[in-house]
Point group: C2
Amino acid sequence: MHATLRDPEPPLTRSVEDYLKAIYHLSSQGGFAATSDIAALLEVAPPSVSGMVKRLSETGLIEHVPYRGVQLTAQGRRAALRMIRRHRVLEVYLSQQLGYDWDGVHTEAERLEHAVSDELIERMAKALGDPQYDPHGAPIPTAAGEIEEAELVPLADAPIGAVIEVRQVADEDAARLRYLAEQGLTPGTLLTVTERQPFNGPTIAKLRPSGEARVVGQELARSLWCRVVTP
Amino acid sequence: MHATLRDPEPPLTRSVEDYLKAIYHLSSQGGFAATSDIAALLEVAPPSVSGMVKRLSETGLIEHVPYRGVQLTAQGRRAALRMIRRHRVLEVYLSQQLGYDWDGVHTEAERLEHAVSDELIERMAKALGDPQYDPHGAPIPTAAGEIEEAELVPLADAPIGAVIEVRQVADEDAARLRYLAEQGLTPGTLLTVTERQPFNGPTIAKLRPSGEARVVGQELARSLWCRVVTP
DNA sequence: TCAAGTGATTAGCATATGCTAAGACTGATC
DNA sequence: GATCAGTCTTAGCATATGCTAATCACTTGA
Ligand SMILES: [Mn+2]
Ligand SMILES: [Mn+2]
Ligand SMILES: [Mn+2]
Ligand SMILES: [Mn+2]
C-alpha cells in the first residue's frame, strides 16, 4: 500500500517548505538539527519550532529525538532538495536574465521558490542551459534530487601556503556579498594563503595571478568555502 | 494624520489580494460586488466571504452595504490594480520569454502574482518593452495605477453586418483558450458578423480577410469582447 | 551524586482563513 | 400587504502558524 496512492498528499505550505530547507542545511554535515538552531535560522521562537517538529514527524517528513534534534527522512530530504533546486535555479535566472546583482537574488528567490511550478523551474533551467551552480557557487540539485557534495574548507581553515579556489559563498547577507564582490572574492577566484594572525585574527591571501593581497577577517573567512588546489 | 505614516501597514495576504482582484472584476461595470458572486469566483463558501468582507472594511479597503454588496475604496482599488498589473505582466513574460502557451499562463500567474516584488515586475515589464496588453488582450495597468477603459461588446451582442475586431478574451478556462486559438479567434482578429440564430443560438461570423466562416455558440460568444469597427 | 543552568517542551492564547448549520433580511409574487 | 424563495449574515467550529510564560529534562561541574 503506497501512501502516495491512497492519500492525495496536500501540497506543503510555505512554512513547511522553509522548515525542511532549514533542517537540511543544519543537518547536512551529518547529525541532528537542534530546535534552537532551526529557530535562529528561521527567526521564530523555539516553541514554534517544537510545534512544527511535531507536525512534521507525524507527516513522516522528519525523525524527532526529543531533546536531541531532528533529521530528515528520505521523503523529507526529497522535498528539501526540490526546494533547494527551485531556489538556486531562480537565483541564476534572476541574475542572468533579469539583471539582478548577486546580492539581490536570495531574498527574491526565498519567496518565489514557494510559488513557482515545477514546469516553470524546468523551463528556466532549460533557458539557462541547465546550470550546475547558483550565483554564489552552491551546487544545484538535479530534478531527480541528486546533489554534488564537494569537500570544501572555510578560508579560515585553509592551510598557509596552499593554493585554493573560492568555490562557494554564504548568500543570506546582501551587504557581505557586495563587499566580497568589491574585493574580487567570488567563486572561481584562485588564492595563495600567505598568513593567518593568531587569536582568531584575519587570514591573509594573495589573489592569483595578480598577486594583490587581501586581509580577510575571521567571520568573513568562515563564510568563504574553498577547494584546496595544491597544499 | 496619515494612517500610512502612523501605521506600518502589514503587507496584504494572498487571500486578501485575491479578494480585492475579485471585487475589482465584479464591480468594474459600476455597482456592487455581491457576496455570492465573490464566493463563486473564488470558489469559497458565502460565509467565508462575509467574514473577509468584515475584515476588509475594517481595514478601509472596501465599503460594505449589508445585504447589498461591496465596492472598493480608493485604497482598495489601488491595491487591486497593482495585483492586476502584476498578473498581466507575468502572463506576458511567461508567454514571451519562457515559451508558455496562452492557455497556461493564467494559472501560473495566479500564484506568482503574490510572491513577486515590485522590482521584479518592473524588470520584467522593461525586458518586454512595457507591454500594453496581456496575452488575452486585457490592458495592463501602469505602475502608477492607470488602466485603459475600452468600450467593448461581447461577440454575442455585436450587430449583424458589423465589422468587428476581437480585442479581449476571458482567460480563466484553458480549454476554451486552446479552442479559440484553433479557431483563429485571438485578439486582433477582424470579423464580419453575418448572422445570429434565435433562442440564444450561435453567432456566425466571417474571418477577414480570408472569409472563412465561424459558428460561435452563445456561451463562447459571451466571452469574446470586441470593438465595433464599422457598424 | 546531585544541583544548576541551558535548552526543549508544554500550556495557553492569538490571528487568519476556511467550513457547515442556523437564523435574518429583501425583493418578487399573489 | 402577507408570504416565500433566495441571499446574506451570524454562530460555532477547525486548522495552520505564530507568540509568551511556565515547566521539564539533559548535561555538566562541584
Ligand atoms: Mn522560502
Ligand atoms: Mn544562493
Ligand atoms: Mn492569485
Ligand atoms: Mn490574462
